[in-house]
């Protein structure tokens, strides 16, 4: 057991931290708690510029192979960069979908033409991507999706609808799952397409989340023509391509650094707020609750370190990613709920209200974290996966 990092990696961490300190963009009015808020489209140019800056400094897609514009960085370095970004509350790159999901997919399964056409623009945020997976009738049962793509000469003609499509309102492209063979068993009739969002026939309608932000959208396809060369992988084998992307998403959603940061913010709040004339942090009942959360957070911290180590040393990951997603998202929500308990009647105040604490991040994060429990595979789906793939329990209704 060895928790130390190599000197070069510690140097890297110091370098990243210093760069971020010098170069962090000023917090914009709409930014909350470091999470990138894209409700206001005016922020998009700023956000692209920030990613551009990160890219120029070599802090974007570091894990991509060098030949595609990455650094082939080790898992340790990728993890260090991610941690420092979170700790400094830096805005996440606006091109996250492309960087973490589509990019690696194209690198592994795309044609050379697709790689050349898209990867450079993903890195610089010149082109932004959204994910067209879920549909009104296909959420947890994604494979039941119905958006249809029929072949017409050199094109697919796409008809249907996607939902919960984050960032579709300003994305340039969409990676999209479509049904190309309705007669086949559902997993075997799906294809993975790259769709230009400027194509005629696409309509994007923002959906407002309970947080008040239009964080995701409905996207309608009305005879949208997609060149056949935009097929990734083989026809009707899109499910395999998609699964590669889904496991990236699961890991992306479950950073324990953010959980540790939230816990630190909670403790700070508990120190600042009073109950019966003393800081909440001194109250015996609060201490029990906070200590329990702290213990759960640290267990996840060491769980992540263990997963990172397994990755570094080539040991099988098992269902660690699903456990991560399940536990981390629920823990984040519990931490926010604990903050609201401390805030008492002040819990619901928004940033525009007098007497609001912490710029109103807590009620917003409390809601946002519930969304994270549901998105990327609900907790119930994660439990099914853990039981079936992790414990070998029999499938069946």
């Amino acid at each position: 057991m060895d928790l130390s990092f190599a000197k070069e990696d510690e140097d890297y961490r110091r370098e990243v931290r210093a760069w971020l300190r010098r170069n962090l963009p000023k917090r914009s009015e709409d930014a909350e708690g470091g999470e990138l808020t894209l409700g206001d489209p005016r922020r998009i140019a700023e956000a692209k510029a920030w990613q551009r800056k990160l890219h120029d400094a070599g802090y974007v897609a570091t894990g991509w192979p060098k030949e595609y514009g990455g650094q082939g960085a080790s898992l340790v370095r990728q993890s260090i960069l991610n941690e420092e970004m979170v700790l400094s509350r830096a805005p996440a790159p606006i091109g996250m979908m492309g960087l973490q999901m589509l990019g690696p997919t194209l690198i592994n399964l795309g044609t050379d033409e697709q790689k050349q056409r898209h990867l450079p623009h993903i890195l610089t945020a010149e082109e932004l991507w959204c994910q067209g997976y879920s549909e009104p009738g296909s959420g947890s049962d994604l494979a039941s999706l119905k958006t249809r793509a029929e072949i017409d000469g050199d094109f697919f003609v796409v008809n249907g609808q996607k939902v919960w499509t984050s960032t579709a309102q300003f994305a340039d492209w969409m990676f999209c799952l479509v049904r190309t063979d309705p007669a086949a068993p559902k997993h075997k009739g799906i294809s993975y397409l790259l769709v230009d969002m400027r194509s005629p026939g696409i309509t994007v309608r923002p959906l407002v989340q309970m947080t008040g932000q239009a964080g995701f959208n409905e996207v309608f396809f009305d005879n949208v023509r997609v060149p056949r060369r935009n097929l990734v992988g083989k026809l009707n084998e899109g499910w395999l391509v998609a699964n590669a992307t889904l496991s990236h998403e699961r890991n992306m959603l479950a950073s324990t650094t953010r959980t540790q940061q939230l816990m630190g913010d909670l403790l700070r709040l508990a120190k600042q707020r009073s109950r019966d004339g003393a800081p909440v942090l001194r109250d015996p009942v609060a201490r029990q609750h906070l200590a329990d959360l702290q213990i759960r957070v640290e267990a996840m911290k060491y769980h992540s370190l263990r997963q990172l180590s397994d990755g570094i040393h080539g040991r099988p990951a098992g269902i660690g990613a699903s456990v991560n997603k399940l536990v981390t998202t629920e823990l984040n929500h519990d931490i926010c709920a604990a903050a609201l308990e401390i805030l008492g009647s002040h819990a619901g105040l928004l940033k525009t209200s007098p007497h609001v604490e912490d710029r109103g991040v807590w009620p917003t994060d409390w809601m946002f974290t519930l969304g994270m429990i549901i998105g990327g595979g609900t907790s119930q789906i994660q439990k099914n996966i853990i039981a079936e793939r992790g414990l070998g329990m029999p499938r069946g209704a």
Partner: protein
Amino acid sequence: MDFGLTADQQMLAETARQFLAAEATPRTVRRIADDPQGFSPELNRKVAEQGWPGLLVPESLGGLGLGLLDAAVLLGELGRSLAPVPFLSSGVLATSLLLSAGSTAQKKAWLPRLASGELTATVAWLEESEWLDPAGVTLRARRARERLRLSGAKRFVVDAQVADLLIVAARTGAGSGPAGVTLLLVPRDTPGLTVVPLPSIDRTRRFFEVAFDDVAIDTAQVLGAEGKGWRPLENLLDVACVAIAAESQGGAERALEMAVEYSKVREQFGRPIGSFQAVKHMAAECLAEIEPSRSLVWYAAWAQQEIPRDASRAASMAKARLGEVYSRVTNTAVQMHGGIGFTWEHDMHFWFKRAKQNEMWFGAPAWHRERVARESGW
């Protein structure tokens, strides 16, 4: 950077698991649990042959010279099997106290014999109040000329019925603070010492009251220095937390395994009960707790030596968390077995009871959470 077990540690785990699967089957465990003495000399002898009693003892004194993380690995396997052997009491707790408090001569006199399995020892610390702070040590050792005389009682002394040697925390000084706590080496067969069984739900690891009726103690029997017993006890608390947590981790894993296996086989409504989502979710929730808690135990064990300033906090984190996880998992495991999980005849209740005992012994989760808060500087 490698947060994981070494090849040697993995080997230790595998070897132990195989050994225990052969020598401490559930049937054997049940037989020993039903035995009036509650231990098997034959099993203890075979365990001694593995070298385990000396795991923490330096090689120069006949042991394996390994550390607490290695002990935690072994304890995980013992927790899996519930083998009624005195490893935790003698190989970990008593041995640790001898190592931290004993003089060179005392270590030489006792540790080789513990390491070989010739003798076993146990620690007598808790009393009626169960307080784990200095005020909890009230057992008086009065000075009477060159000797000390011990009168009073200790409770929750584990494995006292087999221990040849008891390490007793007594009070030689005035007041109720740390100064004045003295550790005494008391052979079980000392006149005036009585071991009284405290029958409890867990028959695989037994608690005893030890009554001292004007027991005569020589000065040579003071472990380390008179009045200097508190610091080693304080360290021992952290060791105990880690040891109990490690044992609980193994037990929780085994309990879930049993329940999941049963759910694949037991059919109702024309299908295995494990195919029902409600049952899957019960099991998945257990695994989601067990996976991270394993890493927490490893960290806590490793931190005792490697990050001493975090040792107490880490130990209490592990104790609090595993206490609740093991109890929750065994509760779920019993329920997954349905009615038969509730029977004496089925083995499930052994883990269920060990879980609850481990949760409460040496400080309940709430006490340890407060300790975490204090150690965190809140």
